[in-house]
Symmetry: none
Subunit: 193 residues, 2 copies
Amino acid sequence: MIKNKKQHGGLRIGAGRKLHSGLYGESTKVIRVPTSKVSDIQKYIIQFQVNNVIDVSKSNFLLTHQPLDLFEYKVPAGFPSPAEDYKEKKLDLNEYLIKQKEATFFVRIKGDSMIDAGIHDNDIVIVDKSQTASTGDIILASIDGDFTVKLLSRNKSKYQLLPANEKYKPIEINESMQFEVWGVVTGAVRKFK
Amino acid sequence: MIKNKKQHGGLRIGAGRKLHSGLYGESTKVIRVPTSKVSDIQKYIIQFQVNNVIDVSKSNFLLTHQPLDLFEYKVPAGFPSPAEDYKEKKLDLNEYLIKQKEATFFVRIKGDSMIDAGIHDNDIVIVDKSQTASTGDIILASIDGDFTVKLLSRNKSKYQLLPANEKYKPIEINESMQFEVWGVVTGAVRKFK
DNA sequence: TTACTTGATTAATGTTACAATATTCAAAAT
DNA sequence: ATTTTGAATATTGTAACATTAATCAAGTAA
């Protein structure tokens, strides 16, 4: 049929991607840089991604010291806890969670792919980029430019990234992928209120 | 004159600019970066120009980011909210998680009764005893001398403590129990490594 | 009704292409 | 011997392109 058969047609005013809806909430430019510095620069600019999976802050500032009381005890013991069941000591969150402050940064998690590891949407994880990742570690990695927090595992000679959520499939790393480990997740914090 | 008039001609084998004779002594690549970071990045890579006298130690490039620069970028104001939202990149764990330091203490959790709230065995929760507990809050309470961390709920006029794990039953509070609220759980931290 | 599908529209993003500049070589001219 | 000229080839900033992504509304299905 030689026919005008528009089916879903019509003008869409206002359609199209919105301005500054990209990774950085602003426009971008192309620049030329020395090859050996490309990955440094990419590590730097991911901090400023706003609409992506994660947003990253640095911790290389003056860390406050705020030792407060820590009570250790067994909660659902089922039986009444005698007084000696908990002991008291001082704890400072920065000291407790950060070993290498120069190499540490924070990543806010979006999504539920690590929920079985107790990492929930909107949690902040602590990443130490000075540690070398071993299997069994939860790591921040990039795969073909996408950042992800996953459990590093190995199947024979192949590395795998395992999500902690049945809804997501393991990712097997192969040579055709651009794969980079950015650091080891050493902790997580969550705010309820 | 229709003439073959080669004057200075001839093959020049080996002629041409030499490889890696550029600014950086190495090849370059084109990358795309957010506009507001271009000058940062250029300040960074200028250090690696081979003819440049300035020899800055290999210090992390992020550390060269001065508060002054940051302020500069905010002024042009061409961009609406995103820049504004992210101007505060500092994060201090103590500040982030603790509002009332005089009234705050930590409790290490043993057991899995709050696992569905993302509180796992061996986690440390942050408790603020200055906050009054409302239904929906996760609280630290003692029942007949036993400490527990649970979700505070209400069924008609009766308060209940709900565990976040199907394996455990809700606890209904009644007058015969010695019941005391010690504080509201305002956060949780976990160490993986 | 409501939700999904489709195509139109426009921005983002990574890469390639290109033009202008810079460097090097050697033949030709002086 | 020195300078001039043009060929050869790399650098470097920017433009252009193709692909992807996001958004909107009409059409379709439930």
